[in-house]
């Protein structure tokens, strides 16, 4: 698929789930995403790192009650890319149903 709106990076199931879960929210704590996606810390870290390298998500680190915490959120370009990707998926579905 060569269309520029179709984002191969986002399209992988776990990364698509991460973006979809983050899209309606401001920021979400790392363990909440991990529990929601039912993946291990290392798997989630790997995928978040990939999205982070593309500039789609950012991590905010901090501490609360003596524990280190990490919040993940979609950047503006990440939201744009996700929206475009979903739009592209919709287009593909519409074309395939018209055929």
């Amino acid at each position: 698929m060569s269309n520029s709106s179709f984002d191969e990076l986002i399209h992988a199931p776990i990364r698509l789930k991460i973006c979809s879960f983050l899209s309606p929210t401001g920021s979400v704590e790392f363990p909440i995403i991990r529990d929601m996606l039912q993946v291990s810390d290392s798997v989630l870290s790997k995928h978040i790192k990939q999205l982070e390298n593309a500039g789609y998500v950012k991590q905010r680190k901090g501490s609360a009650h003596g524990h280190k915490r990490s919040w993940v959120y979609l950047t503006t370009s990440g939201r744009e890319a996700f929206k475009k990707h979903i739009k592209e998926l919709q287009k593909i579905i519409e074309v395939s149903t018209d055929l």
């Binding site: 399209h11 992988a12 979809s20 929210t25």
Partner: protein, 170 residues
């Protein structure tokens, strides 16, 4: 081009994304305990306001903030309708169907506004009643306010739960 580990077709991918958004929204809908404590906070603060006990008004308002803090800490998300920003969005195309999707929110907010304003408008009367020896009037006002808030919150929660429930949308 980057290789993808996805074996999903566009249909499945779209469904996956939509379901995750729904789950995200569902997770943000607070439970009945949250509605209860928010309503309790509103009821108590209005009751104490009517009784001119300012310190207790602030203490009651603190219940609201504590409830909000616990909910945010528990789920990691702002409770639906209580985020200090626009909050959760519910569609891939929020602008196109914005007003359609917002009608329930607007209705709920309008009803709560009317209730709050009508009770505030009767504030002076409440004080007069109380001063005539009807000690129970501030308590009754607080109970009415609390109950009204609880009914509105529970109903709006159940509306959103139905709206985002995967089972009900299939």
């Amino acid at each position: 081009m980057m290789s993808t580990d996805s074996n999903l077709n566009p249909h499945e991918s779209f469904k996956l994304a939509r379901d995750m958004q729904r789950l995200s929204n569902l997770k943000a809908i607070p439970g009945n305990w949250f509605c209860f404590f928010v309503s309790l906070s509103m009821g108590l603060s209005f009751g104490f306001l009517c009784n001119q006990q300012v310190v207790w008004v602030f203490i009651s308002i603190a219940i609201f903030h504590i409830t909000l803090y616990i909910q945010k800490r528990k789920t990691g998300l702002w409770p639906f309708g209580f985020a200090p920003f626009m909050g959760q969005v519910n569609s891939f195309k929020p602008n196109r169907s914005f007003w359609k999707k917002m009608k329930m929110n607007l209705a709920v907010q309008l009803i709560s506004l009317v209730i709050v304003l009508s009770l505030c408008a009767s504030y002076v009367d409440i004080l007069e009643f109380r001063d005539k020896g009807n000690w129970w009037v501030p308590i009754a006002s607080g109970v009415i306010m609390g109950l009204a808030m609880f009914i509105i919150l529970v109903n709006s929660n159940s509306y959103f739960r139905n709206k985002y429930s995967v089972q009900n949308n299939e």
